[in-house]
Amino acid sequence: MAEPSVATRGQKIAHLLRELAVPVVSVMLAMGIGSVIMLVAGYDPLVAFPAMLKGAFGGGRQIGETLLRATPLMFTGLAVAYGFRAGLFNIGAEGQLFLGGLSAAWLGIVLAGLPQPFNIVMMLLAGAAIGAAWAFVPALLKAKVGAHEVITTMMFTYIGRYIVSWLVTGPLKAPGQIPQTSQLPPESTLPRMHDLFGFLAVSRVHLGFVIGVLVAMLLWWVLKYTTLGYEARAVGLNPWASETGGISVPSTTIKALCISGALAGLAGVTEVMGVHYRLHDQFSAGFGFTGIAVALLAKNNPLGVIAAAILFGALSAGAGTMQLEAFVPTKVIFIIQALIILFVAAEQLARWIIGRTRRVGVEHAS
């Protein structure tokens, strides 16, 4: 709708480049400031960043690790992005992810002995359903009384984490000292990519990555071509006009936040089925929160989420090597993440800097 129908190929490319400029510049600025912070703290960014690059893309195994870490971020990124498109901020993807992981850890044991494709489908569906259910109360409160979803979904994250903590230390605890559930049988896990495709290098990346890409494409299609997606976008752009145009804002809000929750639930499912094969209460490294950065960097475009998730996956995969070779604490990637969000969100920053330099220039001239 936004593009003029008579746009030439050249105009389209120029448009795409303009769209890409802000994210690319933002990432570079964030890394630049990250380097300054490293220097001040006494580390060498010229050792750190090459080490990070090596850890993320240095070989088949490293690339696999990057894609592995991109997988949950793709799902949480899609979750947050879909919410944003409907004008909702699902800051609680982390909680929905925990519930999704919980459902997989439980259902995977129940379905033991059944064929693997069936189990995979069932566990994905169940995880999506419980993720949606975990978003439902905040969605309902948002739609009916206007309770801000930022606070309610955040509260539900804590409630969900305590429920998981209780289950893995109590009712669902596997025998032994460690608070975790029993290991899933092989038929309830996602196969690794190199087992499916022999020509791929041996790495930990699993089928979940491909599922994530397919879900991203599906979501892109839903947003662009379906009534469901159209209504979500319309409400996100202008709830009052949508209401006047005959779209029910409350029902669209509930649907959108539940779909967002379902996507975040899938992140928990694929982590349990593809990486840990069981649930313990530390199984997420804040994927729900990193999903916010992923969505913003992608400008809430589902296809952009794939690329943004791979970037953050690479940061995460490379951080370990960076710590080993340059001794920089891995937490620096959270600082870089926050800066990326700030720069992407502050598109005005570029204009502000340009305005400043112009003004200074004028003063010098006069």
């Binding site: 912070i37 703290a41 006494g42 901020f89 800051i91 109360v137 905040p138 409160l141 009916k144 009384v145 206007g146 309770a147 801000h148 930022v150 606070i151 309610t152 955040m154 509260m155 539900f156 994250t157 804590y158 409630i159 305590y162 429920i163 903590s165 209780w166 230390t169 109590g170 804040g286 929160f289 916010i292 950065a293 913003l296 604490p329 937490k331 620096v332 990637i333 959270f334 600082i335 870089i336 993440q337 926050a338 800066l339 969000i341 700030l342 969100a345 502050a346 005005q348 920053l349 502000w352």
Partner: protein, 317 residues
């Protein structure tokens, strides 16, 4: 058992637990009254808590720690003000970035300074303000025990929160400062027309909220615990925002709502001591403040009216 639960120490603990929420909630009230949403209270509190420990550690003075906590909160608030007022960035997004930044900065600096993740060394704490010896015998002794524990046993920032709640509440509705602040959030164009600088007003409101959130962090580390643990704020910044809403964007109401959350927290801690009698897993006690927050929001929000211009960047024109 009921008498054991409803003892003076429960109410003293409720007031202590309410303090970080109240300081941040009053900060949130001031910020949102000026028309700027501040979901970064969480991050400002976390950074304040950490920098408070650092300040106290390097100087040996808990009071200096309070000062560094305040400055730390304000420094993140400056980022929020610059992003949301000057650059007109989405305020919720800017707040989120600051929360993630605070998590990253505290985790990073922790490893740089202490060489390990997790918890810092312990530092000197602020002492209770009063230390009065009262009667200990008989009826008078019981009465005194209540007064002493509930009202006189607290550390300085606990009293500061109460003073700010009362003073701030009065000032918001009875002074020029209060009128101007409310005008910024209700009708910035009108404020601008009569010569109030929207930009300056909003900057000072955001910075004040950062200072108060920093003090809330100082209360956690320099009064309550004595050390910093990563992520120790545990969404208190978000609960404080809910308290601000429940308190209808007033300092007094924010304090009252914080007291409710503080009491719930104190009660769940106390009830955990009776685990032999009340056979419920501890996680369900720990959930209480979060569940209560949702219930409170669900019940009150429809009737609470936010400042009209909240969340909207102001474009002079």
């Amino acid at each position: 058992m009921l008498a054991d639960i409803l003892a003076p120490d429960l109410f003293a603990s409720a007031i202590r637990m309410a303090t970080p929420l109240a300081l941040a909630a009053i900060g949130g009230t001031i910020c949102e009254r000026s028309g700027v949403v501040n979901i970064a209270l969480e991050g400002m509190m976390l950074f304040g808590a950490f920098m408070g420990v650092i300040g106290a550690m390097f100087t040996g003075s808990a009071w200096f720690g309070v000062l560094t906590a305040l400055v730390a909160g304000m420094s993140l608030a400056l980022v929020h003000a610059f992003a949301s007022v000057t650059l007109r960035t989405d305020q919720v997004v800017s707040g989120t970035a600051i929360n993630i930044l605070a998590t990253g900065l505290t985790g990073f600096l922790m490893e740089v300074i202490f060489g390990h993740p997790g918890t810092t060394d312990s530092v000197a704490r602020l002492r209770p303000v009063f230390s009065i010896n009262g009667p200990t015998e008989g009826m008078l002794g019981t009465v005194w025990r209540w007064i002493d524990l509930v009202a006189l046993s607290h550390t300085p920032l606990v009293y500061l929160a109460i003073i700010l709640a009362i003073g701030g509440h009065w000032a918001l509705f009875n002074t020029r400062w209060g009128l101007r602040l409310r005008a910024l959030g209700e009708h910035p164009r009108a404020a601008d027309t009569v010569g109030i600088s929207v930009v300056r007003g909003r900057y000072s409101a955001v910075l004040t909220s950062g200072a108060l959130a920093g003090l809330a962090g100082a209360n956690l580390t320099l009064e309550q615990v004595g050390s910093f643990t990563e992520g120790m704020t545990n969404a208190r910044g978000f609960i404080a925002l809910a308290a601000n809403i429940f308190g209808r964007w007033t300092p007094g109401g924010s304090y009252g709502a914080s007291l409710l959350f503080g009491f719930a927290d104190a009660l769940q801690i106390k009830l955990q001591l009776f685990r032999e009698v009340i056979r419920v897993p501890s996680q369900f006690f720990l959930m209480v403040p979060y569940v209560l927050t949702v219930i409170v929001l669900a019940g009150v929000v429809g009737r609470a009216v936010a400042p009209a211009a909240i969340g909207k960047p102001y474009v002079k024109g």
